[in-house]
């Protein structure tokens, strides 16, 4: 099985709202895949269907070879889910929580080792209630990876983090990716997708509007660069040539020289603007 996830023709409707309008997708084993998209674009619905939380209206789906519309315990033990908002079990300590959840899995990782992996060893005996928001997310991740999952879902894992906590969290995710697990994450942060994901899909209006590597998404690598300097700017596909000419004109240093390539954010904003219907 080359693909961890295969989706064909997925649709889902809530009342009058067609939340997902036909999604096709392959996520390869061992890759880090990010879903990008504005709120209400169908991102969470799609992921929750893949996680086995929601029923779909139509489409063929295979997640680790199993239809998530009929989740079994065996299948659940092979995936790990890190939820977006959870404030449960606040009166247990970190160690008690992780030990208890380890009991659900047929072959769990060592609780102490998992707590160390998410960087909470010195908080192991603290009640979850006493932890900061970032530390709580680490407990969520600990519970998500506890069962030795082949596939991990992370739903907006760093929302509300300060920049330092986000960097530390990224390192944690990169570490997980290196163990060979497939990682599917949703995020609002384009720098996060760029830093972590091998491939991204942009969902807007219930459809995938672009899919690919962050560096080449939406023709980003072939888009024209903008060269600006103190007295002007020019859009060009050959910025080096422009700079050489400018350098000749100024006889050396070009005052205020800058070259802009479209950022992932530029591409993203253009992509999600188009399909509003």
């Amino acid at each position: 099985m080359k693909n961890a996830i295969e989706v064909r023709g997925l649709t889902k409707r809530y009342g009058d709202v067609q939340a997902v309008k036909g999604i096709d997708l392959d996520i390869r084993r061992g890759e880090v895949f990010a879903f990008l998209g504005p709120n209400g674009a169908g991102k969470s619905t799609t992921v929750e269907i893949l996680e086995g939380y929601r029923k779909r209206d139509a489409g063929e789906i295979s997640v680790l070879g199993v239809d998530p519309g009929r989740p079994t315990r065996e299948w659940r033990s092979r995936i790990g889910i890190v939820l977006q908002t959870a404030n449960d079990a606040a009166e247990l300590s970190v160690l008690e929580t992780v030990r208890h959840f380890a009991g659900y899995y047929p072959n769990p990782r060592d609780p102490d080792e998992v707590i160390a992996a998410v960087g909470l060893s010195d908080k192991a005996n603290k009640r979850v209630r006493q932890l900061s928001g970032g530390q709580r997310r680490r407990v969520d991740v600990a519970l998500g990876i506890l069962g030795n999952p082949e596939l991990i879902f992370l739903d907006e894992p760093t929302t509300g983090f300060d920049p330092e906590a986000r960097r530390q969290f990224w390192e944690l995710i990169e570490g997980l990716a290196q163990t060979g697990s497939t990682i599917v994450l949703t995020t609002h942060y384009l720098d996060e997708a760029e830093a972590l994901a091998d491939r991204v899909a942009v969902i807007a209006g219930g459809r995938i509007v672009a899919e690919g590597e962050p560096a080449t998404l939406g023709g980003r690598d072939t888009a024209k660069a903008v060269v600006t300097w103190e007295e002007g700017s020019v859009e060009t596909s050959t910025p080096t040539k422009t700079i050489v000419e400018l350098s000749r004109r100024y006889d050396g240093e070009v005052p205020g020289l800058a070259v802009h390539r479209p950022t992932l954010e530029d591409i993203y904003l253009k992509l999600i603007e188009a399909p509003r219907d």
């Binding site: 086995g52 065996e74 033990s77 092979r78 404030n87 009166e91 009991g103 047929p106 519970l143 069962g147």
Partner: protein
């Protein structure tokens, strides 16, 4: 619920070991639920103090024997409040507790793990049994020490106590589980669930004897389990002397058993058909 592993695709490690059993995980959840309950000091105080304060209040106000029987008013209240305490642990605490679990992400998180869903309910039942048992012990201790309540000496009375307690707790817990789906959020749960419980206590003979109540209210109360649970506990703790105080001059233990059992079955059906693992905001 034996939804054990049926997937066909072998995993890298999991396939070699069996899934932990639902009973084992249910016991494990019971331990964790009980631990969490006793660490939440507010809830502990709220749950245990209510019937205790009421018992001491009523016991002090209405001292002395009831006319035409060898029973004191405080003995009557002890029996009634044991019923109310059991119902409180099963219906009120559990209903509010599950509504909270639905709101704070506990249910969603558990549904995403390989935990069998039955383990959650086994854990809750254990938690309720522990709370209800402690409540009964405390109320009996107060009754015996302060209000001359005589603990029955015959084995048959304790057998009656055991089945009234178990049927009552189970029925109340199933109703509490079913009612937990009604409130829109954890915040509204206390109001939505406590209100009917308070009304039920007033019309079920916990505080006010049936002899002072209009017939239509008695008829309403007779539909719900609290009246029958209290009647069963009166049979245990007031004995033959108190039977003359009952409306029908009898404790009607056969009807108590029948109606409590009917609520257990009805509650189970209600739970199986209406229980939501998701909050309303989750759609």
């Amino acid at each position: 619920m034996t939804d054990t592993a049926t997937g066909t695709a072998p995993s890298r490690t999991a396939a070699t070991r069996a899934m932990p059993s639902a009973l084992k995980l249910g016991l494990s959840r019971g331990a964790v639920e009980t631990k969490m309950f006793f660490r939440e000091k507010d809830a502990v105080v709220f749950t245990f103090s209510f019937p205790i304060i009421l018992l001491m209040l009523f016991g002090s106000i209405f001292a002395g024997p009831l006319e035409g029987s060898g029973v004191t008013v405080s003995q009557l209240y002890t029996a009634g409040l044991i019923g109310a305490g059991v119902m409180g642990a099963g219906f009120q605490s559990l209903g509010i507790g599950i509504a909270g679990d639905r709101d704070d992400g506990t249910l969603k998180r558990l549904a995403g793990t390989p935990m069998p869903r039955s383990a959650y309910f086994i854990g809750k039942i254990i938690n309720v049994l522990v709370i209800a048992f402690l409540e009964v012990v405390i109320l009996l201790a107060i009754g015996v020490l302060m209000y001359d309540l005589d603990l029955p000496s015959q084995v048959s009375s304790w057998v009656t106590f055991a089945w009234v307690f178990l049927l009552g707790v189970t029925g109340a817990a199933l109703l509490g589980t079913a009612v937990s789906s009604l409130p829109r959020s954890a915040k509204s749960a206390a109001a939505v669930i406590s209100m009917p419980f308070v009304v039920l206590q007033f019309i079920s003979g916990v505080f006010i004897p049936f002899t002072q109540m209009p017939e239509w209210l008695i008829n309403i109360a007779s539909v719900f389990p609290l009246k029958w649970m209290c009647q069963g506990f009166r049979a245990v703790f007031l004995g033959a002397d108190g039977a003359s105080l009952e409306l029908t001059k009898s404790y009607e233990l056969d009807r108590v058993a029948l109606i409590l059992a009917a609520w257990v079955i009805g509650g189970l059906v209600l739970c199986l058909t209406t229980f939501r693992w998701k909050g309303r905001r989750d759609g």
